[in-house]
């Protein structure tokens, strides 16, 4: 195999498509190619050539972002799809499809090439049942180790009893955690702990106060979101679910992820007016989510009952009121529809605009206050600067996105790089910081709030002047959507926490054949070990807080 020696430049010459380039780079590794709605190339490779293929794509063609790993079972085979992008240009997408045999679903692990594959493949094993060779840690991830069957597999029997008691499979208090020889101490942080931001269990090994090893144990909030989406019809029954992924007022951003994927799949246009409303409401959600991130991070570093936390919640409340006026809901908005939004701005419009403008006017003074209270505080700086370091290369390997990646200097924001909605018509900037530490992640979020405010202001301007006879909020969408069988797409949006992607494969019915959620928190949380090993417990807590995870989205 000559893959390693191939020296291709990622530039595309005239007349040569990306697919040709990819085929050229990969040589005989590729068995066939497939159709994929938005990937430039979709190649099928043998299950024992995953690592070669991915490293060739990464090293020779610059596909350095393993965005999503989707596993699924067909009548005749299993399939793992590695969806790859470039951090520099996420519109450059390649899907690597790895079929595995039905009798012996074994596929090579991609973990040695991309660290993020670790958790993604564990999930694929857990839910679908593909075994990954060479995987360093082949355990289940969302379900308990004693679970019978693989829930997204075809022969899974939902009615078979699952008898799983904690003490039977993994009693965290059992005695063999105590190693008499070692100087280290095993400590369960969570699932019930004040700083885990939900039900997260971090198995920690301490050397004194220093963190020697962390192993996040997730899945406590697994609600079968993917399966529920597979059981709902495209048109109406899926949209309420995204609000429940990242449930801390970032719902509209999540809804957009589904809307974008489904509209791409079913080829639905969205009226411009609706796009502006979508953009505005999504950015309102982003501010609300970042406020919460800021407030809870302050809790982690300051302690409980601090002024900052309450201030952040007070200001978030204003946004919630605006969103409630717009959508009728405070958290579970269910506001987007395929092809637009549910309804127009509330009447009287002037009142809504005024309320929004009031909020935007007060925002700079409030942010100033936060800077005085938080980022300007010397003790805070002492705590956060140069702790929880996440180097850019490491962040990329783990597929980190969103503020976490941007605080490590990775200039990656899908709103600009893979434009959707109305973002490319508006004037705003992507915020990056080079600090790679907890402090930078806070700063990035606070500055993003300012940028979001800029976007909202421009949207309000546009909406105010929008001609009355051109306010179409939804395009004509058939009552029943049945995309072509085997049409597949992977689409992502920039949610509050980063790249929230949806993979949908249609099976020709009005319900998705496979619905996969690529959660930004899932990938970001994987970096926790890199950030906190060798640092103190308080830094571990601060790093966890700075990742701003929502377990609803991690576990889905």
């Amino acid at each position: 195999m000559s893959v390693e020696e191939t020296e291709e430049t990622p530039e595309i010459e005239a007349g040569v498509t990306v697919e040709d380039e990819v085929l050229d780079t990969l040589g005989d590794t590729v068995q066939t190619t497939e159709e994929h709605l938005n990937a430039d190339a979709s190649v099928v490779v043998r299950p024992d050539q995953v690592q070669d293929t991915l490293s060739a794509l990464r090293d020779d063609m610059g596909y350095d972002h393993l965005s999503c790993v989707t596993a699924q079972e067909y009548e005749d085979r299993y399939e793992s799809i590695y969806h790859m992008k470039q951090y520099d240009d996420p519109t450059q997408e390649v899907s690597v499809v790895v079929p595995a045999s039905k009798d012996e679903p074994i596929s090579q692990s991609a973990e040695p090439v991309f660290r993020t594959a670790d958790w993604h493949e564990r999930e694929a094993y857990d839910l679908v049942g593909i075994n990954y060779e060479d995987h360093p840690d082949p355990r289940r991830i969302l379900l308990p180790e004693t679970w019978q069957g693989h829930p997204l597999g075809q022969d899974y029997d939902q009615d078979s009893p699952q008898i799983v008691t904690l003490s039977e499979w993994d009693n965290p208090l059992r005695d063999d955690h105590v190693d008499d020889e070692a100087d280290t101490m095993f400590l369960n942080i969570g699932p019930h702990h004040p700083a885990t931001h939900g039900v997260l269990h971090v198995k920690t090994v301490l050397d004194g106060e220093t963190v020697a090893d962390v192993d996040p144990d997730i899945g406590y909030l697994h609600r079968c979101e993917e399966q529920m989406c597979q059981n709902g019809t495209y048109r109406h029954q899926i949209m309420p679910y995204p609000d429940r992924w990242d449930y801390v007022s970032a719902g509209i951003l999540n809804e957009w992820a589904y809307a974008r994927a489904a509209e791409d799949l079913a080829d639905i246009e969205v009226p411009e007016y609706a796009q502006v409303i979508r953009t505005m409401s999504a950015e309102l959600c982003r501010i609300a989510a970042h406020m919460l991130a800021l407030g809870t991070f302050a809790l982690d570093v300051f302690g409980d009952f601090t002024a900052t936390f309450q201030y952040a919640f007070r200001d978030r409340e204003v946004i919630q009121n605006i969103l409630e006026d717009l959508t009728g809901q405070r958290m579970m908005f269910n506001y987007f529809r395929l092809g637009g939004v549910a309804w127009d701005l509330p009447e009287p419009r002037e009142e809504f605009f005024e309320k929004t403008r009031d909020f935007l006017e007060e925002l700079p003074a409030k942010l100033e206050e936060y800077h005085d209270l938080i980022t300007g505080n010397e003790i805070f700086q002492l705590r956060c600067v140069d702790t929880g370091i996440l180097e850019p290369e490491v962040a990329k390997s783990y597929g980190a996105t969103g503020p976490v990646a941007r605080a490590s200097g990775i200039d990656y924001d899908l709103r600009r790089d893979d434009p959707y909605g109305y973002y490319d018509e508006l004037d705003w900037d992507v915020v990056t910081e080079d600090g790679c530490d907890n402090f930078s992640r806070v700063i990035v979020r606070m500055q993003e709030v300012e940028e979001s405010a800029k976007i909202i202001e421009q949207c309000v301007d546009l909406l105010e002047e929008w001609p009355e006879d051109d306010r179409t909020i939804q395009s004509n969408v058939p009552r029943t959507l049945k995309p072509d069988a085997d049409a597949e797409t992977y689409r992502a949006v920039e949610a509050a926490k980063g790249e929230l992607g949806i993979y949908i494969r249609s099976d020709g019915t009005d319900k998705p054949g496979r619905f996969k959620i690529r959660s930004p928190c899932f990938s970001n949380l994987q970096t926790l070990g890199e950030m906190s090993e060798g640092e103190y417990i308080p830094d571990l807590i601060a790093s966890l807080g700075s990742l701003d995870i929502v377990l609803g989205e991690v576990d889905r």
């Binding site: 004040p194 700083a195 106060e209 300051f302 302690g303 009952f305 002024a307 002492l382 705590r383």
Partner: protein, 356 residues
């Protein structure tokens, strides 16, 4: 003031008990009972009510307002609630250390009030005892609390408790020394460890500016020592930025993780008593004890205002200041506070030597 009758003596003569060991003992017991009750009452107000109201004011909330005027009725309701909760004692705890810990934490703080001159209230002079080594005694009993915390943390058979106990020891050792050294710099001025004497020295006028005479409280004489003492005291009572031993977001609740019901109340009571004792020491050493405008017979009110002022300060710090990390805490303690307090002691010694 030093010549004034102490509280037990006043009680003994008022009731007409004989001047025997038994009579003195009974009078002392009654006096201690009264002073202890007042302090516990302060704690009762501070814990369920004042703390909530103060933090709420800092954090833009309303807090307790359902029962009685200003929500004051929440105090008996909360007391009843806390005391009637189930006392859960985990299986593997090391008794009786587990049971004694909370008692020592609360008790040691109460002992300290024995020598604090709390000023006059009407005809009474509220001070239980005035030994010549008063200041040494008060520092000594205040640090017994560390023993209680250690017992509580170690006996709880919980890793978070143990981390909390270890942190508490490290913190108390690191900050007790600057605290005592800074206290010693005051003693250099007063030439006495007797509490009433320390207060008496501060009654003289320092300077008179535009007709307003400023007393020679040591907070004015040596503001540097005052600042040092306030900071060390924050660490001593474990409030932000030094609430490391509890650090709820890091180690759940530290040494008190496994305590519930009455034991929990005792530990909390001890913490608040310690804040008030810290306030009492600060008032005595730096703020002229019970001195203030008006007749001496309302001195106790001034004293109360001062210790509540210190309490307010701790709550303010708690609401607004981030927590430092354990290694930073130790570093600040040994490399910063200790050096500064030695410098303060030396400079004060020089100054006193030159003047005297």
């Amino acid at each position: 003031m030093a010549t004034e009758q102490l509280l037990p003596e006043t009680i003994r003569t008022a009731v007409g008990l004989p001047d025997t060991v038994l009579g003195q003992g009974i009078a002392a017991f009654v006096g201690a009972f009264l002073v202890g009750s007042v302090m516990l009452a302060y704690t009762g107000v501070a814990g369920p009510w004042a703390k909530r109201k103060i933090t709420a004011a800092f954090t833009d909330r309303i807090a307790a307002n359902r029962i009685g005027p200003f929500g004051l009725g929440t105090i008996p309701a909360d007391a009843l609630r806390l005391l009637s909760k189930e006392l859960i004692i985990p299986e593997d705890v090391d008794r009786p250390a587990y049971d004694l810990g909370p008692l020592i934490v609360a008790g040691s703080a109460l002992l300290g009030f024995a020598v604090i001159p709390m000023g006059g209230l009407g005809p009474l002079n509220i001070q239980l005892a005035d030994p010549e080594s008063g200041l040494v005694y008060v520092f000594a009993v205040a640090s017994i609390a560390t023993l209680g915390l250690t017992m509580a943390g170690y006996a709880s058979s919980n890793k978070y408790s143990m981390l909390g106990a270890l942190r508490a020891i490290a913190q108390n050792v690191a900050y007790e020394i600057p605290l005592v050294l800074t206290g010693a710099s005051v003693v250099l001025f007063t030439q006495s460890l007797q509490m009433s004497e320390i207060v008496a020295v501060q009654q003289e006028t320092l300077v008179t500016i535009a007709g307003v005479s400023i007393p020679s409280w040591f907070a004015f004489v040596n503001p540097f020592a005052f600042a040092l003492f306030m900071i060390a005291n924050l660490a001593e009572v474990g409030r932000n930025p030094f609430d490391i031993p509890e650090a709820p977001t890091e180690i759940v609740a530290g040494y008190q993780t496994e305590y519930s019901s009455v034991y929990f109340v005792l530990i909390y009571l001890g913490e608040f008593l310690h804040i008030f004792l810290g306030g009492a020491i600060i008032a005595t050493l730096f703020l002229g004890g019970a001195a203030g405008p008006g007749p001496e017979s309302i001195g106790f009110l001034w004293f109360t205002a001062k210790i509540w002022g210190v309490f307010l300060f701790t709550q303010w710090a708690r609401s607004a200041v981030p927590r430092v990390r354990i290694d930073q805490l130790i570093e600040i303690g040994w490399k910063g506070m200790l050096v500064l307090s030695f410098a303060n002691l030396l400079l004060t010694a020089l100054l006193v030597g030159v003047i005297a």
